[in-house]
Amino acid sequence: MRDVYIIGTGIHPWLIRSEQVFTNFGTVAIDNAMKDAGIEWKQIQAIMAGIFIWGGNAGHLSGQYQESVFGETGVPVINIYNACATGTAALQMAYNSVASGQTDTALAYGADVSPKGFFSAKTDNAVQDRDVIRWKMVGMPNPVFWALECRKRMAKYGTTEKDLALVKVVMSEYGSKNPDAVFKKVYTVEEVLASAYVVDPLRLYMICPVSTGAAAAIVTADKKLISKADKPVKINAVTMGSAMYGDPTIRIGVVSCPAVPEAPLLSESYSASHQAYAKAGIGPEDVDYFELPDNSSWHYLVYLECCGFCKEGEADKMLRDGETRIDGRVPTNLSGGFSSHGEAVAAQAIWQVIECANQLRGRCGVRQVKNPKVAMAQTYGLMGNSGTTIISI
């Protein structure tokens, strides 16, 4: 396998909601990535597209519709869906294509326009789509699953409402400094605790909203392109994980879970991150910058543990002690996270990698960590799928 580098990245900044066509967002992100990489459209030899699941036929064949905007070249186009980890799957496909020598330069991207409010069922057929059961029989939007796990955590480890609020406080502080963030207001603990319950124990400002945006990355093994790129970053590992038998997590889309744990909580993310450590030959102690999926305050805490940055039950202390701040042991989500941007499902995993790359490339201005060498992006993922990317400079 050859060494593969990210030479260009681009986004269409996140928006709360837009009536624009998703390919228009994709076009902006890909254009920006090509400019950053210093390449032209015809140099892209494969397109790995994150599927836009609310986009019907056009969304499911996102890559084909996107290719035609720039001009069809006959290159392989693969459309990929892995929920929140969709972008990592696209990046892994691009990485594999280049690392194996099938192509020299490939594009991974995702573009998404989320529907308003809670995500809901995608079919009415409970026989084929068991996801329908949670909607019709219990009324379980995604935050219900997070709140059920959060309640367990509060009972087991003593996580307080104040800890959950502090996550938003920290995220909002960094989000306010990110020119591309959607939500730029800085919150206090009191303000977060005064926001309405959505799903007790989670309040409005403890849950990320849905959003819209696009993100693209160009990867290559072409030495000429690498040498002329502005601070190319090496991909040390890009891995996908699925759930493990006996994972006690109540998983989004399912109405039951094992009562006796035989695997770690969020085992799909445990699997993806630990595969990535093994592949990159490093451990969490070597990570200088971390992007985690803060879909809710619970996620922020549990992902620090899941990925090995502290022991189970210790993330609250890590947060309180400032270890995840810009000058802390593991600077985390200095982007402001999903909390300051919202979820744009097909795009967000690549956006997380771009935030990591921006830190390594010294592009983060007042949010810049001092000389980071290794960064890691971790996704969540509905129904037991997850992705991890480790990059270095």
Partner: protein, 144 residues
């Protein structure tokens, strides 16, 4: 529980009341011992032969392993004749079967809910359909 003969589950093969007690319709793998809910949500232990899966009913009673209070009405296809918001959703553990199942908490003071409390499975009327049948789901309530 309403008029049993006039009740229909909104989705079949999930909840049974034919024995007089309301019980969730599970399946058990006799090879790896895992219980599934719903029945088709197979989650075998890796390497299991997957032989001898039989339909079973979960016990009527279990204990509360987690709970939340919903303060918003979920989007369709969630449907109730009368608003039930705010409502509890509980994760009830069936200890011998080593499975936890989520369901609406009904007929229980939300302020009295505590982890570990004993819960029983009941039916809960959601709406009346065009055939004048009571369309129900399963739910849990604190054992009195």
């Amino acid at each position: 529980m309403g008029n049993v003969s006039n009740m229909v589950a909104r989705i079949p093969n999930l909840v049974d009341w034919s024995t007089g007690e309301v019980r969730l319709m599970s399946a058990k793998c006799n090879s790896c011992g895992t219980h599934f809910f719903p029945r088709e949500h197979y989650q075998h232990r890796p390497g299991c032969s997957r032989e001898g899966v039989e339909n079973v009913l979960l016990p009527n009673k279990g204990k509360l392993a987690s709970y939340v209070i919903m303060h918003y009405t979920p989007p369709p296809p969630f449907k109730f004749e009368k608003s039930i918001v705010p409502y509890g959703i509980g994760l009830v553990e069936f200890e011998n079967e080593k499975i936890q199942v989520a369901g609406i908490i009904t007929d229980t003071d939300l302020k009295s809910i505590k982890l570990g409390m004993k819960m029983e499975t009941v039916t809960l009327m959601m709406f009346t359909n065009d055939e004048k049948q009571e369309v129900v789901t399963w739910a849990f309530r604190a054992v009195k």
